[in-house]
Amino acid sequence: MSEKSPSPVDWAAIEAKPAFRQLLARKARFIIPATIFFLIYYLALPVLVGYFPDLMKKKVWGEVNLAYVFALSQFFMAWIMAFFYVRVAAKWDKAAAEVIHGH
């Protein structure tokens, strides 16, 4: 019931296009390091809080301690990461449109 295009698309041919391979490589160059970074940054929080509570209880601003500051920084890390992702992804959209142009 999905709409089938009248002329079948040669998927393998598109997949083999250098422009498409390049797009995949560009995506991987951003997504893989970004994923590793955010997972480490995020998991550092429960690890530090769980196993080094005395370090994390150090006060940095009045009663506010390192644990809370690090937790709060996670929100900004997530927002900044999303901001950068959207910026590079817009470039990928253009590249993807060029790849499928004519199909």
Partner: protein, 524 residues
Amino acid sequence: MSVPLIMFLSFVALTLLITFWAARRNTGASAYFAAGRSITGWQNGLAVAGDYMSAASFLGISGMICFSGYDGFMYSVGFLVAYITVLLIVAEPLRNAGKYTMADLLAYRLKPRPVRALASLSTLTVSTFYMIAQMVGAGVIIQKLIHLPFAPAVIGVGVLMLVYVVFGGMLATTWVQIIKALLLMAGAFLLSYLVLQFHDFSFTKFFNAVAHADYAGSAEPKNLLEPGLKFGVEAAGPWGPLDLVSLGLGLVLGTAGLPHILVRFYTVPDAKTARSSVVWAMAIIGLFYIMTTFFGFGAATILKKALIMTADGKPDTNMVAPILAQQLGGETFFAFISAVAFATILAVVAGLTMSASASFAHDFYSNVIHHGKENRPGMEVRVARITAFCVGAVSIGIAIFLGPSVNAAFLVGLAFAVAASANLPVIVLSVFWKRFNTAGAVAGLAIGLISSIVLILLSPNGLFGKAGALFPLENPGIVSIPIGFLAAYLGTIFTPRDLEAEAKFAELTVRAHTGLGSEKATSH
């Protein structure tokens, strides 16, 4: 009639109106299951946020922070950071290559029947877990708001939610989510404002009070900003810190496997809109969870302990936010917050039921039993409605069995762990690993699902209680997620290569990364 009751009823009336409006626009499966793919980025962002900020977030987390301080705030952090996983890895390929459910993506190049059958089972399981949490939250709210006993309150919620889903479909649940997300943000903002006002708008004063939280003089002061009150070695024993890491892992990877969040990406016209809706959702969700600082920690500085304890002297962890509203803003504000919390639950339950029933009707009924052909037009939608009824009935039953005292955030945390163990490995591997085959997907789904459920049953909260627990962690993620990935990997490499699946990998890759041939929006 009391003010709370009027507010509550007017919300219900408003949402029923939306449902009625949506019902008239439902013309076919794409409209019913995917809102005609006509939802815009910010609308879907609000709806995703609405689906996400459930009873667990509002009622559960505020209670958890009020009693366990910093360790409860860990839920808030994990709930937001999880969206990076959704944004970077899952949202766009899913939108490009799927139709109505998560299983569409998996069935693309794998053998559809076994994969869909198991994906449907895991969707139903995760949704039911999540739903139980919502039902418990709804029960306690109604109990407090209109003094109904727990069991009839839960049943009432169930009936209402069925009306939305059965008549309205995805368009109605989407709009109910959007309105509820706005109301919830308004409620959270007001509550935070009043808490800060209580502390003379001074952050120094506020954090000082939190660091010497004494529940309005009714308990020994303790520093709620210090980690360890729930997961520390002194509070939880030697396994506590690992339990915290396990919770974190489940939260950050679980969202990308939650069926009711994933289906939201089918309601938008293309991958670009899917992306922008994640960003909208992250903005809203992030603000909301930062505000849990104020109404979670703040509650411990303002409320007397007696107010937030149950009759038998246990912490009433799901009622902290509404009671805080009552103390700070009087009966009307209490009514507003309760109505918002109730709306939240209703909307989330509707979204959950929607995704569960879509999965059963589309994956199991149409594709497994009827080999992908709809034998009679409209049958898929009808089966979805019947499934909605059954899922609702089961979760109502379990919620009544568990009773009002179990924390909603905790229950949802478990749903995340199950989703991360069963769904995420197969989603990721099917998009990024060419060699992945049907046996691997079946193994990953089945073993991820079973291992997470079995570990929950053997945990300190499970069948044998704290003393007899065979598995020391309350949160299974750190063990069950690697098991899910490993099962998918081993299931693949120990079975013959599936050349057909590998040949279709090219097609899936092109579709996922370019959006070529994806499902288009339908015009009304």
